[in-house]
Every structure is written in structure tokens, then in C-alpha cells.
Symmetry: C2
Subunit: 223 residues, 2 copies
């Protein structure tokens, strides 16, 4: 990468960090626990959110900001579950940035939100470099992607606090060791909390939503 | 995106295009048919290449340039199949560029190569913008990723000449319509040639390798 390009990249990241800090302050002011979901395309971010929303919407006030390169498909799927959703179409952009999130928040009632999900663009590389002002990052990985992904794409796993392994109902049909995959993830980031889930059968979703509820409570207490 | 950032991006793309044109000339000079494989992480690029190499190495002289964000895992898997492999570790970079490919070619014997595979970084967004001097792009999509991916990540499907649908052995365990997925891909790019494959069962690999062999023959005739 040329010196000029590195310099521009640093300026862009630094401008992004400044807006992300403002977003973080804004969310903290309203005690909104916010997670930034990162994964490859097709790892099951939207389906996990659909199931999670159904399990939690009776007890928590939820919101979603859904990013996509093109189409509003994900946002439309989530809107059907009766919660406020804002779509961001990046028009080719490979990750969300803090400005896009900040603009989306302007039309959400944060005073009436306990838990906000930001569904990033499907990409296991670029989104992990951009702070969006979230409370923490959650990386998803489908069992169909193979056990080695944490080693090959370490930044997303290193910067996340939580790994949600998805589609575990397919394990019997694959040559895939859940234990090896989790070992690989922990070798990159020993502090990762891991949930093994299937949005299809519901396996693991109770533990995942209990954890989310506890984090929301802690966020209310700490703020 | 700021005007300054757009300008730098254009400069980078134009510098890349110039090197890509040189790579293309070099490959044409040796009549090497070259494909650039693009997909999400975990779509099965490496496993498709392993099977393809085993089926073709008796009749064609093969080579691979294997890109990864981190690790040389893919290159090492392919080397076991007894063909020349060059690894490119991008160290966080989200796509291969023409300079990296050009440098890798310096140590490959192109005069002794009929068919060269370039396995791009696992990313369905960024790699599609960077010409590597290939004969054509092949986009892979696993059936586990869902039918809507061509609509949500259209650039990769628009710029590819071929779609290889992978892991079709898993369809009976999924809510996935192969027909809808292919219709979506063709709606983005009506000229796409489509192969439905399973590297696990071998389904579809004969048609895929026959097509590759025909393209290699055409490349020899036309050059």
C-alpha cells in the first residue's frame, strides 16, 4: 500500500473513530446495549436476529440497524417481527461506518430502546476495522464454513467479545468438529464467549438470549 | 466517501489495471488459461480446487496462486496434490491485487502451465473490483448461504462468467431452492454459465472439468 493510501486510510479511520465515540456517548446516555454483528455472507445473521427478536420482544424494547451492500431484504424480513428497523444500503461499500449508524439513530427512539442490534454487511474482513460505537462486537460463524476460519480471518475473532456458532443442526451432515472450531477461535482470542446455536431447531438460543438479557440489565445498572 | 478518498481509490484501481494488463499479456504469451475464483469465506474454493486438480492433473499442466488474509493453509492443502502452488498472505488485506499475482508468477514456469487457478481471499465484496489479469472470473456460492446472495452482493455475480454452486449434497437438509438461487444469479447476469456441484459426492464435477478442458483448448487455438 502506498504512503499516500496509508495516510488517507488513517484519516478515514480516525474520522470514523470520532463519530463512533459520539454514537457511543449517545447510546450510553440512553442506556442502550448495542451489539455489532459481523460474519461472512450467509452465516445466518438475519435468521439469528429474527429468532432472537421473537424470544426477547416480550421482555425488552428492541431495535435493529440492518446493513446490506444492496437490497433492503434483511430489513424487510426483520420489520415483519414488529420492531423498529432502519436499513442502510451501502451501494457497494464493504462495511458499515459510524456516520451511517449515526444517521440511522436519528430516526430511532433511543429513550424507548433497551437492546439495539447492528447487522453489518456480510464480510468477515473489512467490518472488523470500523468501530460503530457499539457496546461489543459479536462474530458469527456457520459450521458449514469449516473449522479454520478463525485462523484465516483472525481480526474479526480477535476484536469480538462473543462467537455465535450457527447452523449446528447441520453438523451430522458435515466433516466438521465443533471442538476444533472453538479451539481455533479461542487460540485467536481466549476471552471469547461462545454460543453454539441453530436458528432452525432453536438449539442454544435460550442461553444466547439469557446472556443478552443479563447484559442489558448490567448496562442499565452501570450507566 | 470523501473526494480525496475517491481520488486515491481511482488512482489505486488505475495502477492495478495497468499491472493487470501486463499480467494478462504475459499469460497470453504463454497461452495459460487463468481463472480468478471469488466467494465468501467457507464456500468451498479450496476443496473444489483439490477435486479439480485430481481430475485434471493427468491431462493438463496446472498451477495455483492461493490468497489468504492469514495462514498458508490453503496453499499447503493444494501442494499435497502434487502441483506448483504459490501462497499470497495479504496480512489483513481484503482482496488480491495484480501486483501480488505478478510477483507470484515470477517463480512459476508459465511455459509449462496450461491452466492457472487464482484463489482469491474469501470475500464476496472487495475482490470483484480488482482485475488480476485473469481470463475470466468464477464466483462460487454455497447452497448453505441462501438464495438471495446474488441480489445482495451483485457485483461479484455481474463480473463473473461462471457461477459454481457448491455443497449441493446439503440441499436435502436445508430450506433452499436451487432454482430460485440460479434465477436470482441470472437476473443479475443472464450470461452466467452455471455448474451445480458437490466436492463431497463429486456431483457436477465432470461437467465443470470438461468445460475447463474445453476452455484450455480454445485458449491454445486462439492465442
Amino acid at each position: 500500500m502506498s504512503a499516500e493510501r496509508v495516510e488517507v486510510r488513517e484519516k478515514v479511520l480516525s474520522a470514523n473513530d470520532q463519530i463512533a465515540a459520539e454514537v457511543r456517548d449517545q447510546l450510553a446516555g440512553h442506556r442502550v446495549f448495542t451489539i455489532n454483528l459481523i460474519s461472512s455472507p450467509g452465516s445466518g445473521k438475519t435468521m439469528l436476529l429474527e429468532r432472537t427478536v421473537d424470544l426477547l420482544k416480550g421482555s425488552l424494547r428492541l431495535g435493529v440497524v440492518a446493513g446490506d451492500v444492496q437490497t433492503r431484504n434483511d430489513a424487510e424480513r426483520l420489520e415483519r417481527h414488529g420492531i423498529p428497523v432502519r436499513a442502510i444500503e451501502t451501494g457497494g461499500g464493504c462495511h458499515l461506518n459510524a456516520r451511517q449508524v449515526s444517521e440511522s439513530l436519528a430516526s430511532l427512539d433511543l429513550a424507548q430502546t433497551d437492546l439495539l442490534f447492528i447487522e453489518n454487511v456480510g464480510n468477515l474482513v473489512c467490518p472488523s476495522s470500523f468501530d460503530l460505537g457499539e457496546s461489543l462486537k459479536v462474530v458469527l460463524m456457520s459450521v458449514t464454513e469449516g473449522e479454520d476460519k478463525p485462523l484465516k480471518y483472525p481480526a474479526a475473532f480477535r476484536r469480538a467479545s462473543v462467537l455465535v456458532l450457527t447452523k449446528v443442526d447441520l453438523v451430522p451432515h458435515l466433516e466438521f468438529s465443533t471442538e476444533t472450531a472453538i479451539d481455533n477461535a479461542l487460540s485467536v482470542n481466549p476471552d471469547l464467549r461462545v454460543f453454539a446455536t441453530s436458528s432452525y431447531t432453536g438449539e442454544g438460543l435460550e442461553l444466547w438470549t439469557e446472556w443478552l438479557s443479563e447484559e442489558v440489565s448490567a448496562c442499565k445498572r452501570d450507566s
